[in-house]
Every structure is written in C-alpha cells, then in structure tokens.
C-alpha cells in the first residue's frame, strides 16, 4: 500500500468521524418527521426469511410489503384467514406509515374473517364460532389501534376505528370518542364531526352533551345542516324537552 492509499484511508476516517454528528442529527430530524420508524427485529426476520430481511435492510421495504400484500390477497381468495392475519402483521410492520395497509387489514379481519368464522360449517359449536368471530373483530380493532399509534398525525384510522366500534361492537361511546378525535385534525373530513355527534347521542348519559354538540354543528351553517342531523336534533329536542325558544326551528325561523 503506497502513501497515497494510506492518506486516503486516513482522510476517510477523519471525514467519517466528522460526519457522525451530521448523520446523527439527520436521523433525529427524520424520525421527528415520522421517517424510518420501522423496527427490523429478529421476529420480523423469522417471518419474512433471510432474503426478505436483507431486502428490507437494503432499502426495499415498500416493494417487499407490496409483494407480501399480493400474497395476502391470494390467501384471501383461498379464505386462509390465519395466513392472511400473519401476512398483514408483516406488511404493517414493514410499512407502519401506510394507512391503506392498516385499514384493509382491519377490514379483512373484522368484517370478512369474522363473518366467515361465524358461518364456519366445519365448527358445530355455536359458542366456539361466536368466540372466533369476536377474536377476529378484536384483531381488526387491534390493527387499527396500532395503526393509530404509528400515525398520530392522521385522522383516517380514528374514523375507521369509530366505524368498527359502531358497526361491529355497538360501542357508541367509544365510537363517539374516535370520531371526535378524528374531527380535531385540520384535514379531517367534515362528516367525522357529525358522526361523533350521532354516536354521542346513542351513548347513555351523554345525550344532553350530544344535543349541544350537534346544535353547535347546526349553527356552523348550511354545510352541516344535513337531513339526518336536523332529524336527530328534532328527535332529541322532544326527548330532552328542550324549551321552544332554544329549539332549532325557532333559530331557523329568525
């Protein structure tokens, strides 16, 4: 090795040492902006195999996730629910910031797999079928909850969790909370605020709060004054015996 090669190696070491703080600062900056959040653990290595793990390490997480998603779709066509759940687990671990993966994984589990479990002809015990159905719904809920933890800056999964709590678990209080959380994001769709009110109205003990909330929405203007909201407000005014002067008809006539 001649002197120039030694000098090059020395300079490379010097530059490497000087670049470390830059790299560290860049890594912190990236993580604060929700980049590089995937945890490539031994558990993931076992699930995706050596080649897959190498691909994930080499910056090909997203194409690998897409290929595994296609595999999960094939498993769906063959109604292999257990295999699907495992593949969804891997895909969401590889791409934790991808909302469609969390959303679709939850939907497949809580809607498709749960119904298939309830209608499973191979299982004669109804109690076991119902248990399996609940387990799949819970799995779907779990996907959404973990998705929310990985995407605290986005409202979409709160909405999906609200829908799941409302339609699959009839937990109206929980659904109201999720829709309410979603509605507070600046990019939330306007229906999330209305949905929060509708569910709050079904939550025992929160009827009056729901009425005030929905009335505030009504007062926001024409955009929120949909027939379903007006009908519910009228229904609640009668139920809660709201004085005539405070009712929406009174306001509307003025």
């Amino acid at each position: 090795m001649n002197a120039r090669k030694f000098a090059a190696l020395g300079l490379l070491c010097l530059f490497g040492g000087a670049a470390l703080p830059l790299q560290f600062r860049l890594q912190c900056e990236a993580q604060a902006a929700h980049f590089h959040k995937t945890a490539l653990s031994i558990d993931l290595r076992e699930r995706i195999g050596q080649a897959g793990f190498l691909a994930a390490l080499s910056g090909f997480r997203s194409p690998l996730a897409a290929l595994l998603w296609i595999e999960a779709h094939t498993a769906w066509e063959n109604t292999e629910w257990g295999r699907m759940a495992g593949l969804f687990e891997t895909v969401t671990t590889l791409q934790p910031r991808s909302l469609p993966y969390w959303d679709m994984a939850a939907w497949h589990m809580a809607w498709n797999a749960s119904v298939a479990a309830l209608q499973n002809e191979k299982q004669p015990s109804e109690a076991l079928r119902i248990r399996a159905q609940r387990a799949y719904i819970q799995l779907g809920k779990d996907f959404l909850e973990r998705g929310i933890l990985n995407n605290p800056d986005r409202p979409q999964l709160h909405i999906q969790l609200g829908v799941l709590l409302r339609d699959k678990l009839e937990d109206h209080c929980g659904a109201a909370e999720e829709f309410l959380k979603a509605s507070k994001y600046p990019d939330a769709p306007p229906y999330s605020a209305r949905f929060a009110g509708y569910e709050m109205a079904k939550c025992p003990g929160r009827e009056r709060e729901a009425y005030d909330y929905l009335k505030n929405l009504y007062n926001e203007g024409e955009k929120q004054r949909l027939p379903s909201l007006i009908n519910l407000l009228r229904e609640m005014e009668n139920k809660l015996e709201i004085p005539e002067s405070e009712r929406i008809e009174f306001h509307a006539s003025h």
Binding site: A7, A19, Q27, P100, R154
Partner: protein
C-alpha cells in the same frame, strides 16, 4: 471555458459511450414492471393499487439507478485501460483528476437521464390510472350529493400523486450519485472490474447497516471491546445509506420537511465530493 472543456468533452463521451452500450434498454423492463403492475392490480381497491404502483415503481427506480451507478462506474477504468484510450487521453495536458471528473459527470448525466425517464414513465402511468379511477368514481356517484362526490374525488386524488414523491425521487438520484462516487473510489485502486463490483455491492449492504452499527457503538452498551471497535469502524468508514431511503415513508404519505430534504441532499453531495477527492488522490499516484 478553456479549463472545463476537456472535462466536459470526457463527460459527453462517457455518456455517449454508455448510451451506445444500450444501457437504456433497462427502461423496457421498468416499463413492463410499471404498466404490467398497473394492469395486474385491477382487482385491488384503488388505494391498494396506487400504493403498490408507487411501491414497485420507486423500488424498481432505486434498484436500477443503484445497479447502473455501480456497474457503469466499475467498468470504465478497466475498459479504458484495455482499449488503451486512457493513455491517449492522459498523454495530453489533461490532469488525472479531470479525467476522473469527466467520467463521473458522464455517469451522473446518465443516471440523471435514467431517473428522469423512469419518473416520466411512472407519472404518466399514475396519471392514466388516476383518470380511469376518477371516471369510474364520477359515474358511480352521479346521483350523490356534491359533498359526497368531492370527498370521493379527494380520496382518489390523495391516493395518487403527492408532491413529496418528487424530493423522494431526487434523493434516489443522489443516492445513486453517491454509489457512483464510492465505486469510483474503489475503482481507483482496484485491479479488476469484478473486484470493484463485489466491493461496491458489499459496501451497499454495509452502508445500509451503518445506522445500526452507529447506534450500537454510541449506545454505550457493555459489550466486548472488539465488538464495539467493529461497530465503530463500520460507523466511521462507511456512508449511512439508510439516510437516503426516504421513499418508503413518502409512498405511505409522510410529508418531507424542506429542511430534511436539503440536509439529506447536502449530506449526499458531501459524500460524492469526498469520495471523488479520495479517488483523485489515489488515482494520481497510480501506475498505469
């Protein structure tokens, strides 16, 4: 102008030579991947389709640019020596570093052109798919309220083109430029192109593990001294290639802050400059 003339001439010549070697034929494979993927995905929901189209396209873009960067750079020095063109060139008043700079600029021009062509192909496919899904959505929601229609349309447009894809693609190019410069450094002391390709490929994988090694080294975990020394060597000697993998998260909808993009690009350009300077240093003393 006079001083940059030979460098630009070498760069132009390198670019032309690489084009003549039919390097751009890889675009056919890229087109097949992107268009084939798009047609095959029709059975998925539109969110899944667009997600996978972006996953596969940007993944392929990253693979192709990295491969071109390593293979084209590893090949030129042994080839020029075999053809004896390097002797003709260096016999003229062209400093060795200018020869290397010209070659590197030629390869970077090729990488830039390849990235632009792939981006254009990808964006056209994305736009065509978006228009087809939008037409379907409008037809399905013809009877819906304007609010429902605009929400559905917004859902489709949000899932397709995202302005953050552009800085993501720019970072793919910068990463390939870094790989080209790193390969040039290896090539400056290597004796064969196979050695250069093997070394550069190994460094590609090690570079992606650099973050892990750095964290391990700096975490202060009580481990064997030699284990920490190894981690420290990896952290110091190799570039952090993981820092240039922004597309995985951009595809998932994460927005790139301008400061993060500029700092990543700045680090990449710094690496390119340092590896080039080291290559020039070693090559200036090499016996030809």
């Amino acid at each position: 102008m006079k001083s940059t003339g030979p460098t630009l001439a070498i760069a132009r010549n390198t670019f032309t030579e690489l084009v003549r070697q039919k390097v751009f034929f890889f675009l056919l494979i890229f087109a097949l991947l992107v268009i084939g993927n798009s047609a095959f995905m029709a059975k998925f929901s539109f969110q899944e389709q667009f997600q996978m189209l972006k996953d596969i396209s940007l993944g392929a873009m990253s693979v192709f640019t990295s491969l071109i960067a390593i293979l084209a750079t590893a090949n030129f020095l042994p080839k020029d020596m075999e053809d004896r063109t390097i002797y003709t060139l260096l016999a003229k008043p062209v400093p060795r570093y200018r020869y290397l700079l010209g070659k590197l600029l030629g390869i970077l021009a090729l990488l830039g052109a390849a990235t632009l062509l792939m981006t254009a192909l990808f964006l056209i496919t994305l736009w065509l798919r978006e228009n087809s899904v939008l037409a379907e959505t409008r037809a399905q929601l013809a009877a819906a309220t304007p609010e429902e229609q605009s929400l559905a349309i917004k859902e489709v447009t949000d899932a397709t083109f995202n302005i953050n894809l552009l800085p993501g693609i720019a970072v793919i190019f910068i990463k390939s430029a870094l790989l080209a410069s790193m390969t040039l450094f290896i090539s400056s002391f290597a004796t064969s192109s196979i050695f250069t390709i093997l070394m550069a490929s190994a460094l590609y994988f090690i570079g992606h593990l650099q973050t892990t090694a750095r964290e391990y080294w700096l975490s202060g975990t009580a481990v064997e001294w030699w284990s920490r020394l190894l981690a420290a060597s990896v952290a110091i000697l190799f570039p952090d290639l993981q820092a240039f993998n922004l597309t995985d998260d951009i595809i998932a909808g994460t927005a790139v802050p301008l400061a993060l993009f500029l700092n990543t690009a700045g680090l990449g350009i710094l690496y390119v400059a340092v590896y080039f300077a080291l290559a020039a240093l070693v090559f200036s003393g090499r016996e030809l």
